[in-house]
């Protein structure tokens, strides 16, 4: 049963970059900061590719952002996705606005499955997926994972973690929840968000990177989708958290014990 899968690829600050707040608290310092695809979206792209490899179909990558977001779409195309769509929106993003834009895209593309990262590591809000699911009246499974570890045979063999039923109409998803793993079955179309251990994304190969340059990447100005683009989550001010007092190195367990027992009274 061929699947049309829509996955997201948000451009975010590289987590290894040092994030500093501007002195006036109006934003973060962007000079010297590197960017990459949101790691949870890489997992979404990978899962899309695995499902296509097993069942046939198409993987479409969508990103919302400025012109540089096209770089992350190309990265996903290089991994093997079929085509990309950039919703050009240079203003501040929030999950309310982004889910509205993606809902419009759903109406145009009618995918069988939408896979998003469970959160983007810049705002860490983590709710575009369920918000979108409700907008579309679709079932959701957030924090999708799997029971086999990332070191398992199944993972080496690039098995999808999301399991499609024989008739192609339902998807079985294991979710990471507090206290264990929950399994749900969703009717397609559905919205799934990815957690860390759903898969290990592949690296783009050199041939993949070359092919990606020729794949279709369509730009749609956000305004064309006819929704209210004003952010509903307004960031008033940013600040850096208070710094901890510098610590000390102890020479042995004896000293550690004395510090913890007598000084900190923690043990």
């Amino acid at each position: 049963m061929a699947l049309k899968i829509l996955v997201t690829a948000k451009r975010v600050e590289d987590p290894e970059s040092k994030i500093r707040v501007k002195p006036d608290g109006s934003g973060i310092v962007t000079e010297g900061v590197n960017y990459k695809m949101n790691p949870f979206d890489e997992i979404a792209v990978e899962e899309g590719l695995r499902l296509r490899e097993r069942h046939g179909g198409e993987v479409v990558i969508a990103s919302i952002g400025g012109e540089k977001s096209a770089i992350e779409i190309r990265a996903g195309l290089a991994m093997g996705a079929d085509r990309g769509i950039l919703i050009r929106h240079d203003g501040p993003q929030d999950p309310v606005v982004c889910s509205a834009l993606l809902a419009k895209l759903f109406e145009r593309e009618r995918p069988d499955l939408l896979i998003l990262g469970k959160q983007s590591i810049d705002d860490d809000q983590g709710y575009t997926g369920p918000y979108l699911a409700e907008r579309l009246g679709l079932p959701q499974a957030t924090c999708a994972s799997k029971t086999e570890s990332l070191e398992s045979q199944a993972e080496q063999g690039r098995q999808p973690g999301l399991l499609l039923s024989a008739d192609g109409k339902r998807l079985t998803v294991a979710r990471e929840v507090d206290g264990g793993l929950e399994t749900l079955e969703l009717s397609l179309p559905a919205v799934v968000t990815t957690d860390l251990r759903l898969n290990k994304p592949r690296f783009a190969s050199l041939p993949g990177i070359m092919k990606a340059k020729k794949k279709e990447l369509k730009e749609i100005p956000a305004i064309e989708l006819g929704i209210d683009l004003a952010p509903k989550v307004k960031v008033r001010r940013l600040a850096e958290p208070p710094r901890r007092k510098a610590g000390v190195k102890v020479t042995d367990v004896n000293e550690l014990w004395m510090k913890l027992h007598d000084e900190a009274k923690a043990l």
Binding site: Q119, Y127, L196
Partner: protein
């Protein structure tokens, strides 16, 4: 005057402790807004739970066989109905897997914006703003939600456990809205990871293991058990399949703030620090003197964990016999 509604979380008829943290957040918010606080409990045969919850606030009880197993699609319409019923301007829950799965869906139903993982509130009346972490907690953001109803989840470690109210609240049944059509989601099973140890997010002491354990968590667990601590892990340890997913501490795992956090064989990636840097006292034990974790630790010990941990355990045991 803006009313506050908190959604309670339960597992097999037992109230999750995280809800008690969310209730004190709800109380503080209701004080700021001058509104009434109520707590919504959903499930099947929730009578006993409602009785417990009325000790903290007025209760809205949504009781139906359809609500037996949590499903966002089933619960969201009930939450929306409760918001209407209570005339709530603020809807909140603890930032647990449940809260973050359900509340955004309920928010979308009522056209509300959401602030997840709130650390504190600011302001009063209709203009309460929310402080929340961004970029793995390297930035604190004050946000405003520009919708009539404002939805939020709170980080449980940032709010105390609610104390019982002076007088118990009232329990009212909330009629469940009719089914909107055939179910599109079905609960299949829940594979619980049971533990006799304290819950990671509630423990006074946490001992965490990382890549340095090379998969052997025996010493980490033995030390934890000697102290009566919870056991956590870095992402590397969980990815390798050494320990359950549920043990992961970090930006995208559990966020903990215990009195004492002992990081064993953990290098200290930014994402891990995001999950434990609010701990009161941080100890790091690592063979590598350059490990980034030493920059955060209050006390750092450069040592082989397989030698240091048994020694430390002996100290803990020794102190108990002498005191």
């Amino acid at each position: 005057m803006a009313n506050v509604l908190i959604v309670a979380e339960q597992q097999s008829g037992a109230l999750k402790k995280a809800t008690l943290h969310a209730l004190s957040a709800g109380r503080e918010l209701a004080r700021r807004t001058g509104g009434e606080l109520a707590v919504l409990v959903l499930g099947h045969s929730v009578g006993p739970l409602a009785e417990v919850l009325k000790g903290y606030a007025d209760v809205l009880a949504a009781d139906s066989p359809r609500l037996e197993h949590y499903l966002a699609e089933e619960y969201a319409p009930v939450v929306a109905e409760a918001v209407r019923h209570h005339r709530a301007s603020y809807l909140g829950a603890a930032a647990t897997a449940f809260g973050k799965d359900l509340l955004p869906r309920a928010a979308a139903k009522i056209g509300a914006a959401v602030a997840n993982d709130v650390l504190s509130f600011a302001g009063e009346g209709e203009g309460v703003s929310f402080l929340r972490p961004m970029w793995a907690g390297n930035v604190l953001a004050e946000v405003e939600l520009a919708t009539p109803v404002k939805v939020f989840t709170v980080r449980p470690t940032e709010f105390p456990v609610a104390r019982s109210a002076a007088t118990p609240g009232a329990v009212r049944a909330l009629p469940t809205p009719p089914e909107a059509g055939p179910a599109k989601a079905r609960f299949v099973e829940f594979r619980e990871v049971k533990s006799a140890r304290p819950e990671l997010t509630e423990a006074r002491v946490v001992v965490s293991g990382g890549r340095g354990t090379k998969g052997d968590f025996k010493e980490v667990e033995a030390l934890a058990d000697e102290i009566g601590a919870a056991v956590g892990a870095s992402r590397a340890a969980v990815d390798a399949g050494w320990v359950p997913n549920d043990w992961q501490v970090g930006q995208t795992g559990k966020v903990v703030a215990p009195e004492l956090y002992i990081a064993v064989g953990i290098s200290g990636a930014i994402q891990h620090l995001a999950g434990m840097k609010s701990s009161k006292v941080i100890v790091a034990v690592n063979k590598d003197p350059e490990a980034p974790i030493f920059q955060l630790a209050d006390y750092g010990l450069v040592a082989d964990l397989f030698k240091a941990l048994p020694e430390l355990r002996a100290k803990v045991r020794g102190s108990r016999t002498h005191e």
